[in-house]
Symmetry: C2
Subunit: 240 residues, 2 copies
């Protein structure tokens, strides 16, 4: 019997070494808001995104004249033009341009999985598109949540659960880990009302305090784009 | 306004440093099966349990003439009389005696939280008893799942969710972490049928292969005892 490819969920980047094993594909997820911002920026025509982990690297790029987005703890870092609000990328100002991006959690997760052959960017915004792509790819895939400072994060887990469910229901994938079962259960109970389900979540409260309710609503509305960002060399591009 | 004590969930021992902060109380949970075995042993009259992390320590105790239970990967380690099947403690053979115990996951979690003032042992077996005790104690409490080799484990998270829900519904506790919300949601969707809910869980499958379905059924039946094991010095005793 031919073994099916696996789909598994790893809740946070610090757990990545425990789950990494032999996955050829990793999908990084940071629903609020880094990977939602990345999907949106590509949808509106950005050409390349260079994810960097530190503000120092971001500053070096800025000083060379790049467009640089820098977010820490939900806010744009002083001295930078952009943060990680997806809504700020819903226009053609950066069409054809390269954007450098550093965020509290999301870009770190991208860089942790740097030795993986296929690194993709997932969010609720491109949920069905990325699920379909993964089904066609038919390789074992690890869904990596960005968490919040390495703590478990509800919205990333729900998004990972949604992708897992899409793959598992084809019967062409299997999963062994309890984290995948839990993510799937969380998604199934959240799916009729993400916004209500997440009202108690720590991250939503954090962003609400910063008046980012519009951002949250946008990030929690599934299937707004078909783009699939992937890593090529040290930067991200879009597949379609 | 007086701040309420917190109740939070930490899914696995390796995440403990991220969550530990200023909790005065930690409840260690290993539903399948270490903390269920500990609760059962005390219920049937064991006087003291000495949790040790390594087989080497367990062997030293055995050579001194102690009753020693040693489990690795679900099985009794060769050369020892007991494992961590709770059913093997449902008799009075060890009444008044001291038992030394080492298990794959549970005893490690107990020893990781060793600097905490109040360390208690939780399982579904003593769910309501320990919830009531924690409510009366009225201090911030961290519920620490033992996981499976540091990976997220469904049954421990559900048990932690059940205790969280009991505390939170009094309105005398609060929680900030998404892990607590997720545990609570998982518990709420599992509570009418733990056994069915867990049928896909990795740990249940592992134990089923070892013909331990009776153990699983017993461990997943809530409120079979009022005992609350706690740590005193280097060993565990029961409170009531």
């Amino acid at each position: 019997m031919i073994k099916k490819p696996r789909v598994e969920v790893c809740f946070t980047p610090n757990l990545f070494p425990l789950y990494a094993e032999d996955f050829e594909v990793v999908v990084v997820i940071d629903v609020l808001r880094a990977t939602s911002a990345i999907c949106t920026a590509f949808h509106y025509g950005v050409d390349k995104i260079i994810p960097v982990s530190s503000l120092e690297e971001a500053t070096v790029y800025r000083d060379k004249g790049f467009h640089v987005a820098a977010e820490r703890k939900g806010k744009i870092v002083e001295g930078f033009d952009y943060g990680n609000s997806p809504l700020s990328y819903k226009n053609d100002k950066l069409k054809g341009e390269t954007l450098v991006l550093t965020t509290t959690n999301g870009t770190k997760a991208i860089n942790i999985a740097k030795d993986i052959e296929h690194l993709l960017i997932g969010s609720l915004l491109n949920l069905d598109a990325i699920s379909k792509y993964l089904i066609d790819l038919n390789k074992s895939v690890l869904l990596l949540g960005s968490g919040w400072e390495n703590k478990f994060c509800l919205e990333d887990s729900i998004c990972a659960g949604a992708i897992s469910e899409n793959l598992l229901k084809t019967n062409n994938f299997e999963s062994y880990n309890d984290s995948t079962i839990a993510a799937k259960y969380l998604y199934l109970s959240a799916k009729t009302n993400y916004f209500g389900y997440l009202k108690a979540s720590s991250h939503r409260k954090r962003l609400k305090k910063l008046n980012l309710n519009q951002d949250i609503k946008y990030c929690l509305t599934a299937n707004q784009t078909e783009v699939i960002p992937y890593r090529e060399d040290y930067y991200l591009k879009k597949l379609f």
